[in-house]
Amino acid sequence: MMLRGLWKLTWLEIKIFMREPMGAVGAVVIPVLVFLGAGRIVGSRLEQPTLAASNFIHVGLPVLASLLIAINAVISLVTIISIYREGGILKRLRATPLRPQTILTAHVIVKLILTAATLAVMVLAGKRYYPVGVHAPLFSFTIALLISTWSILSIGFLIASIVPTARFAQLIGGFVMYPMIGFSGLFVPVEVLPPVLRAVARVLPLTYAVALLQGVWNGDAWSAHVGDVAALAVVFVVCTALSTKVFRWE
């Protein structure tokens, strides 16, 4: 059976991740603190917020924080896969009846669970500072974030497939992921960018993730974002197909 060992491995990987000195703190506590801190500072400075500022606090910041959670998950995945490969752990696991896809799926599930958990903590903590945010459709937003994370995790996998060492993997992951936020339409709407940058934005997967997350946060219907979901699905399919071609186990 293909899924034999999947749940045990997933649960084990969660436990192992929590034992890392920076595991739980880095993944859950820090993003939440940054989110709360930023909200508080920006919120208290603007007694009478302008429309743009208010929009940023109520939509932009939650979306940004969520994206950071997703990107953290991706970089963490890239790093873990590289460490496991360098240490021969992937090879050792593969020398059992475990299917390769079971091993990799377990890691993706761990990261998705972590993303959802961090989001939940953030929402609970944010209730105090973001009374408006609570009216956002949290369930739909969580689904949208998981879809986005799933899609950009596949980019992470592609990176993990080709970079040689763990140290390098972390660096590349950061270099690829963070700049994408800049062009994603989160700070500057894609429509007002110069044509060249607009073209860049159109091919970056994060642009579609941002459009989806912002829309869903604002209460758009899913039908308004079929294109975004489709784009994210295409990214997932392409990156996964490429990874299976170039993935190295050792």
Binding site: R4, K8, L12, I16, R19, G88, I89, R92, P97
Partner: protein, 305 residues
């Protein structure tokens, strides 16, 4: 009886480097079979082809009647594997690793706690992998290789990097595996290990197998030389020694004689000569060639070079 492992005409290249070339051998049921040779000789490549982790360019392999490439999952259900220089997750606990491995196989696993006890790991069952000593890690890997009660166990450079005491303990464990009726296939670059453990060995160098047999027979075939060293001040000794059948040379320095000859009977003949001529000796020892010498003879260099 049908051999457990059959390898015939296997070749594997990495780019332009030929790692393994025209390798053929068979491993019988219930024996400890060793693939011995220096680092880089092709031992691990050969083993990993048999385990289904690599695909050879040419040749055929059958393990327990299965094809390691097409039936890799079926095969992995029935074999136990210890890889060279493998690691586990740094913070996985010993019992968690055993528990995970136990859940991966179709067949019901053997009792993990008992296995840990047999391997002397019970008091380490809650320790993280990263905090284990080299010997404890190797014992854990043996546990993982045995958890599915495999029919064939593969051990790649099992004792490399261990101190002599841990090494001896692990040798006892491997003999224990054979006593349970399993077949063991191992690689080593330690000739002493091969001599002490293996029923049969294949000597491999530059990707080719040079000879296969039991360690004793290999020594007999390639190194029939025997040497006796003794000390005596008997004036007629040297003359008598030269007359012994099979003796080829006698050297003497300060009453210390080194008698070179060949054949299993040499030592008996020397003792016979001593008693017949009432030659008193104050020291007597024999130097027998071992696998190390066989390797030197077959390849022209020592295995450590």
């Amino acid at each position: 009886m049908r051999p457990v492992i059959q390898v015939s005409g296997v070749r594997k290249t990495y780019g332009k480097t030929v790692a393994v070339d025209e390798v053929s051998f068979e491993v019988n049921d219930g024996e400890i079979f060793g693939l011995i040779g220096p680092n880089g000789a092709g031992k691990t490549t050969t083993m990993e082809c048999i385990e289904g982790l690599r695909t050879p360019d040419r040749g055929s392999i059958s393990v327990l009647g299965l094809d390691p490439f097409r039936q890799v999952y079926k095969l992995q259900d029935r074999i136990g594997v210890q890889l060279q220089q493998a690691q586990l997750q740094k913070r996985i606990k010993v019992w968690e690793a055993v528990d995970l491995w136990a859940s991966l196989y179709a067949k019901k696993a053997i009792d993990g706690e008992r296995l840990l006890e047999q391997l002397g790991l019970t008091d380490k069952r809650n320790a993280w992998f990263m905090n284990l000593s080299g010997g404890q890690k190797q014992r854990l890997f043996i546990a993982l290789a045995l958890i599915n009660d495999p029919e064939v166990v593969f051990l790649d450079e099992l004792t490399t990097g261990l101190d002599p005491q841990s090494r001896r303990a692990i040798w006892d464990l491997v003999r224990g595996i054979r006593e349970r009726g399993k077949t063991v296939f191992l690689t080593t670059h330690l000739m002493e290990e091969a001599e002490r453990l293996c029923d049969r060995v294949a000597i491999i160098e530059h990707g080719r197998i040079i000879d296969i047999d039991s360690p004793d027979k290999l020594v007999k075939r390639h190194c029939p030389e025997r040497t006796v060293v003794l000390t005596t001040n008997d004036p007629v000794a040297e003359e008598r020694f030269r007359a012994i059948p099979g003796v080829e040379a006698v050297n003497c320095a300060d009453f210390r004689f080194t008698i070179h000859g060949r054949g299993d009977d040499l030592v008996t003949e020397v003792i016979h000569c001593l008693s017949e001529n009432r030659i008193r000796v104050t020291d007597f020892r024999t130097i027998l060639p071992n696998l190390e010498d066989v390797f030197l003879k077959l390849t022209g260099h020592s295995i450590r070079e």
